[in-house]
Amino acid sequence: MGVAATFQIESLQYLGADGKPVGELPEAFADPRALLPLFKQMLFVRQFDGKAIALQRTGKLGTYASCLGHEATHVGIGASMEPEDVFAPSYREYGAQIVRGVRLREILMYWGGDERGNDFQVPRHDFSWCVPIATQCLHAAGAALAFKLRGEKRVAVTCCGDGGSSKTDTYAAINSAGAYTLPFVQCIINNGWAISVPRSAQTGARTLAQKGIAGGLHCLQVDGNDLFAVMEGMRRAMERARNGEGGSVIEFMTYRLHDHTTADDARRYRDEAEVKAAWQRDPMTRLRAYVTAQGLWDEAQEKAWADECGKHIDEEINAYLELPVQPVEAMFDYLYADMPPDVMEQRSAVLAAEGRA
């Protein structure tokens, strides 16, 4: 009767729901001003998200997956990466992508039914949005393997949801990262729901962070509505990865304040009281309280920044709305590097039918 192994999963929280620190802040934020650009990004993302939903509601966008409530997690993840790192998102982490350079018009193009949205001008090497849940996690592991084999000091970061943490691909990614000691960070964004299925129905595991134990990875649970915790958790994971110490799994505890997508109606399955309670832990309010208390932010600044954001967002929306639809041959032109004769023939027939032969 021995003990074969023991494990402990740490959890990180720095800011209370009231925006007051609950202990010493991470070293990187000794100067609280370091926080401000990130807070502003969060505000920007939230404003954009609202406008995207409005666009959908008025028929100018297809189904859209809101990121309301995830801003601290998303922006924190993006801000923890270097440009040369590779990000493999699911479909919701605009905050991370925007920090990395993805343009709003690209986000809108994608949800507007136009593949050109995936053709990020920056960052060219990041993976695009990924609809088949958690498959991106394995692509990130593959990317991390490429970095390791080439001796590059780059890290692959990927996200999946609480639902996605049940997907076998997530496990496969975690296991490969452990087997090959890869520079890999698996972010599990636990927002409480996978469409209508609550976190509790996904698994009997007490935490989602412990999924990493199955692959021998470093595991951590952080308050995903606490930007400090997000940044500190990511810092540790990124450092480990870059130092060749291997992969991590971080569970970010947050909440999906909106419907799953604009095609969903969460009232069918989710208690309004739960949502109300979740608003009490809103990352934005919390951080605003903190920066305001620090004397770094006030209403006037918020107003000015909101206006600036609004202008930029509107420009991007206009660019999106004015974008002409792709020519029909686009559906053939990006399939193969060398177009096979049969495909070429079909392309020609389509052009001929459009009188453009």
Binding site: G62, P132, I133, S166, V197
Partner: protein, 347 residues
């Protein structure tokens, strides 16, 4: 195997009179009705999938079922298609009749392993000791302005696999009768649902528990000049094309294949023996789509009947585009008419 001739043509997609009838239901309501009927009459039937419980499925196919039959008959699964497929095989092999849902056609691929290696082989492998009476419901096809991977027509993944049945209804009545048959069948059935026409029109579907045969094609319209063969959502466009062709004095047989595997080729052959011409319409890419099998059968069993080359009007050999371009990809009435006319240029 005899073809069933339906009088109703469906060419006009919304028969207003029927919409008023209280019991007239849509295709997806017919699916719900069939599930409920069978769950009431057979305790071993259960439903499982992502969001099928309190949410009633993202398309509402299982709406109300959990409330009626309880969470032990309608199970939300963890988010993993491998899990759904594997559990379903295990349940079926141990005396249940699971009806699993793949949320969208594009998410069926992780299920392929368990379907092909186990569901389709269990009876064969064990010489009948164990078998897999299960249904996999797959919302299928494009044209609903959905995001990526929500619009695939991937029936060809299954049609070459022995031991499976592949079914695709195109009307509320056929959705009801074929789903009942699929659940009652002792072997695995892939039941593909043309999501574009889930709510296209209503018709009266008596909730009488009457199943339809799993190996019969339906002649939806009777003609003599050309045979139009299709399945799923394209039945609508094909009937419209036939209607328009009729306006030009060209009369077309329209066949809804409905049961792709096993294929009731006799009904198709009989029609082509009469018309000498055949246009096959499907959404999937052309190359090695299931239309190829029908054309191949014609090339071997109906060659002497053919007066014109067999035409295929299909999705192109590329991925269905995101929704801004998707209607350019799909077959449509004009393309079908053009193909029919090409066959008529031969005599």
């Amino acid at each position: 195997m005899s073809a069933v001739l339906e009088t109703q043509t469906m060419a006009g997609s919304k028969p207003a009179a029927k919409t008023e009838t209280p019991a007239a239901i849509t295709l997806i309501e017919a699916i719900t009705q069939a599930l409920a009927w069978e769950m009431r009459h057979d305790d071993s039937v259960l439903v499982l999938g992502e969001d099928v419980g309190v949410n009633g499925g993202v398309f509402r196919a299982t709406a109300g079922l959990q409330a009626t039959f309880g969470p032990e008959r309608v199970l939300d699964t963890p988010l993993d298609e491998t899990t759904i497929a594997g559990l379903t095989v295990g349940l079926a092999a141990q005396g249940m009749r699971p009806v699993a849902e793949a949320q969208f056609d594009g998410f069926v691929y992780p299920m392929v392993d368990h379907i092909v290696c186990h569901a389709a082989r269990m009876r064969y492998r064990t010489r009948g000791r164990l078998h897999c009476p299960m249904v996999l419901r797959v919302p299928w096809g494009g044209g609903i302005r959905a995001p990526e991977h929500h619009s695939e027509a991937n029936e060809a993944i299954f049609t070459n696999v022995p031991g499976l049945r592949v079914v695709m209804p195109s009307s509320p009545a056929r959705a009801y009768g074929l789903l009942l048959a699929a659940i009652r069948d002792e072997d695995p059935v892939i039941y593909m649902e043309p999501k574009r026409i889930y709510r296209q029109y209503k018709e009266l579907v008596p909730d009488d528990g009457e199943a339809l045969p799993l190996d019969v094609c339906y002649v939806l319209r009777d003609g003599s000049d050309v045979t139009l063969v299709t399945w799923g959502a394209q039945v609508k466009e094909t009937l419209e094309a036939a209607e328009k062709l009729a306006g030009e004095g060209i009369s077309a047989d329209v066949i809804d294949v409905a049961t792709l595997k096993p294929l009731d080729f006799a009904t198709i052959a009989e029609s082509v023996a009469k018309t000498g011409r055949c246009v096959i319409v499907h959404e999937a890419p052309k190359t090695a789509g299931f239309g190829a099998e029908i054309a191949a059968r014609l090339a071997s069993e109906s060659m002497y009947d053919l007066l014109a080359p067999v035409e295929r009007v299909t999705g192109y050999d590329t991925h269905i585009p995101l929704f801004r371009l998707e209607m350019k990809y799909l077959p449509n009435v004009d393309k079908i008419i053009a193909a029919a006319k090409r066959t008529l240029a031969h005599s």
